[in-house]
């Protein structure tokens, strides 16, 4: 697995690079801003890039706009955005740039190499990644406000994993179920929630997030 890093903090970049190397991820290049990243990508396209959101020149949401540009320039490139903020609005914006292969992870996750590595391999595999904190926060609220009583416990677990961006195969592995069983659960969930059944890509994640965010 080859990746590149784009973050304006050299210290953090370096720390993440060392972390990833310990779990066998090759860091093929580091950039302090998007322009540098584009230069690196001109000669060498890795499997994925890790992007900071808040970068020069405006220090607002360069990373999100940059992700859209990168997706357009290199459609096969996995995009993992690391953010200081657990903002669902950012996550949604990211999901909207393409049908698959994007991830939104809190920077805090760098204290666990496996989580970051897992997220990278998922975006490279074309899955979506939504930080579990954002998802659990949304589910907590939804549960408190209007409840998820219509769903069985198993269905709730499946729904949460769907919201985190996991594919049917990933969910089946995670819950130790057969893929067919997972698909049955998903069909049941979509039926109960009144959602259109769709492919297991970003659109499904968006639909689930929208449903979780609504209702109160």
């Amino acid at each position: 697995m080859r990746i590149m890093l784009c973050d304006d903090s050299a210290l953090f970049r370096h720390g993440v690079a060392l972390l990833l190397q310990t779990v066998g991820v090759e860091v093929a290049g580091q950039a302090g801003n998007l322009a540098e990243l584009h230069e690196l990508l001109a000669t060498d396209v890795p499997d994925a890039v890790i992007l900071d959101i808040r970068m020069p020149p405006t220090f607002t949401d360069e990373g999100l706009a940059g992700a859209a540009d990168l997706r357009a320039a290199h459609p096969g490139l996995g995009l993992l955005v690391l953010s200081t903020y657990a903002e669902s609005a950012y996550a949604r914006q990211l999901l909207e740039i393409g049908p698959s292969g994007v991830g939104y992870l809190l920077k805090d996750r760098v204290d666990d190499a496996a989580t970051v590595r897992d997220a990278l391999s998922r975006v490279i595999a074309g899955e979506s990644v939504i930080d579990s904190e954002i998802v659990s926060r949304l589910f907590t609220r939804r549960t408190a406000v209007s409840g998820l009583d219509s769903l069985t416990e198993r269905e709730q677990s499946v729904l949460t994993l769907m919201a985190e961006g996991r594919s049917n195969v990933a969910i089946s592995r995670r819950l130790h179920l057969g893929v067919k069983t997972v698909e049955t659960h998903i069909a049941a969930i979509f039926g109960k929630l009144g959602l259109e059944p769709g492919a297991d890509d970003n659109r499904r994640v968006l639909a689930v997030l929208t449903w979780v965010q609504s209702g109160g």
Binding site: F12, L18, R54, T60, T84, D108, R141
Partner: protein, 561 residues
């Protein structure tokens, strides 16, 4: 009291003096009596304002009545009457040339006129015997030179010619005064000048009629049958115009004071130097009046009066006499100017305070933004790097004791990062600039275990207003959850012309107050610093409505050229 006494005495003397006249000309006698009593009354009333004029008026009335003794009986009376005959006219002339001064006007001319007329009249009367044949002789007649009719006596003709000359000269002086008078004085004296002219022409017409037989040598003018009505009536009526004219002058003075009162109330607020100058010109009837700021200017031909320490009025010197009106007008002007200055000062101060407050607020926002950036770029990145280092340690160490310690360190670090993030967000919510108020509020709300309804349309406001609105909403949400245990919260923002109104309503327990050191009180200060207001309605039986009105000055478009 004095007035009544003078009027009653004049009435008594007049009744006695004109009594014989009633026998052959009752209307003339009545007119004469009424006229002279009126004249004396005018004099009595004038005593308070001007002793000289008052005394002269009463003297004129008594002299006129004395002159009427000519019809009483033979003996001393006709002589006294004959001597007194020109006195009323001389007195009235003196009044008309003097008023409104407290001394005799044109004193040399007046003295000469009195001497000429009195001596001429006396000489004519003393040099002929007025007694018709068969009547007792007069008790005097030093030298009876002439016993013939008026048309043949040289003194008679010379006397009436000198009367004409004096009256013409007096009229010329009146015209001179009228032309020279200015402003208030001209306005006040206009009726007096007019009455002077009418009276003068009445005297001249009478004199001409009297002197004509002497010039042509045909008939005695005292033959009453030949006296034309115009002469007879003007002789009696013209002097009556004079008290009326003085009454009109008194009314005019009263109106002057009323005009000053208008000046006080009529000035546009706030007054300007120009409006006060024009108001003073109107009130003091001096179109050349000037109102200047600064040191007192030196103009010899103008009366310079201080209005306030910093302003002076230049006006006609005649106004010195109308001290009451002028002082009132100047005080009104001073008040208006002071008011205008205070108003301008106050407006300037308010503007400065508002600007300074806006600068302080903006500086505060900028400072908070800088601190938040420092936290994000500094401490936060270092702690995150530390997290990555712990991640490496955890991934590389197989020692369970180490892994346990790393886990402990990681959870502590996560808590530290979370607290740091909250701290940074409390100092300056950077997400506002990134995703806007509505999304930022939604982000806060979705972390809360309650139903929220959010209606925040996109608005263009300054960063300070947007940040304050955000903090107000966050604080209200925290209170609603923590203290009021609300189940449902409605957050709305409405943009009006100059104000955006933020409301947060919950269905919690109510009874919330703006405690002096509570979170809301701090926000109240921030809202007030922007020129807005924050109110809380929280009845004890449940529900809280927090409302912030913030000025909606549109923000400068970022990055515009």
């Amino acid at each position: 009291m004095r007035t009544t006494a003078i009027i009653l005495a004049t009435l008594a003397y007049g009744l006695w003096a004109v009594w014989p006249t009633y026998a052959y000309d009752a209307p003339k006698a009545t007119l004469l009596l009424v006229g002279q009593v009126a004249l004396a009354a005018t004099g009595a009333l004038f005593l308070a304002e001007s002793r000289l004029i008052g005394v002269l008026f009463v003297a004129a009335a008594w002299a006129e009545l004395t002159a009427e003794l000519v019809n009483r009986a033979w003996g001393w009376y006709p002589f006294v009457a004959a001597v007194a005959r020109p006195v009323p006219a001389l007195v009235l002339m003196t009044i008309l040339l003097s008023y409104p001064r407290e001394r005799i006007g044109y004193p040399r001319f007046v003295a000469a006129a009195w001497a000429l007329i009195l001596i001429g009249n006396a000489a004519d009367n003393l040099t002929w015997d007025p007694d018709p044949p068969g009547q007792p002789a007069a008790p005097f007649a030093w030298v009876t030179v002439f016993s013939s009719g008026a048309e043949q006596r040289p003194g008679y003709g010379l006397y009436w010619l000198s009367v004409i000359a004096v009256v013409l000269a007096a009229l010329a002086l009146v015209v001179h005064r009228a032309l020279r008078s200015r402003g208030l004085e001209r306005r006040e004296l206009a009726p007096v000048f007019l009455a002077s002219a009418v009276y003068g022409f009445a005297l001249i017409s009478t004199s001409v009629w009297m002197v004509m037989p002497w010039i042509t040598g045909a008939g005695d003018p005292m033959e009453r049958a030949h006296v034309p009505d115009v002469v007879s009536i003007s002789q009696v009526a013209a002097p009556l115009l004079i008290p009326l004219a003085f009454l009109a002058a008194a009314v005019s003075r009263g109106l002057d004071r009323a005009r000053v009162a208008d000046l006080v109330t009529g000035l546009a607020r706030p007054a300007t130097l120009e409006s006060v100058r024009q108001a003073l010109r109107d009130a003091l009837a001096d179109p050349d009046l000037d109102l200047v700021l600064g040191e007192a200017p030196q103009r010899s031909n103008r009366l310079v009066l201080p209005v306030t320490g910093r302003a002076h009025v230049l006006t006609a010197p005649e106004l010195r006499r109308r001290d009451d009106v002028v002082r009132a007008a100047l005080e009104a002007a001073a008040l208006a100017l002071d008011h205008a200055r205070l108003h301008a000062d106050l407006q300037e101060q308010v503007r400065q305070v508002a600007e300074s407050r806006a600068r302080i607020v903006e500086a505060g926002v900028a400072e908070r933004r800088r601190v938040e950036r420092d936290l994000h770029d500094g401490a936060q990145q270092r702690l995150l790097t530390l997290a990555a280092t712990l991640g490496r340690l955890q991934a590389t160490s197989d020692d369970p004791a180490v892994r346990e310690l790393v886990d402990e360190a990681r959870s502590g670090l996560r808590a530290a990062l979370s607290e740091l993030r909250d701290l940074a967000r409390g100092i300056h919510p950077a997400v506002l600039e990134q995703i806007g108020l509505a999304a930022a509020v939604r982000g806060v709300a979705e972390a809360l275990p309650v139903e929220t309804e959010i209606d925040i349309p996109p608005v263009s406001v300054s960063p300070a207003v947007e940040t304050t609105a955000y903090f107000v909403i966050c604080e209200a949400l925290t209170n609603a959850i923590k203290h009021a245990r609300a189940r449902r919260i409605t957050i709305a923002l409405a943009a009006h012309e100059n104000v955006i109104t933020v409301t947060v309503a919950d269905d919690g327990t109510g009874g919330a107050v703006l405690a002096p050191r509570g979170g809301l009180a701090g926000l109240q200060d921030r809202v007030a610093a922007l020129g807005g207001s924050l109110t809380v309605q929280s009845p004890a039986d449940g529900g809280t409505l927090l409302r912030a009105d913030l000025p909606a000055a549109p923000s400068e478009p970022a990055g515009s050229p």
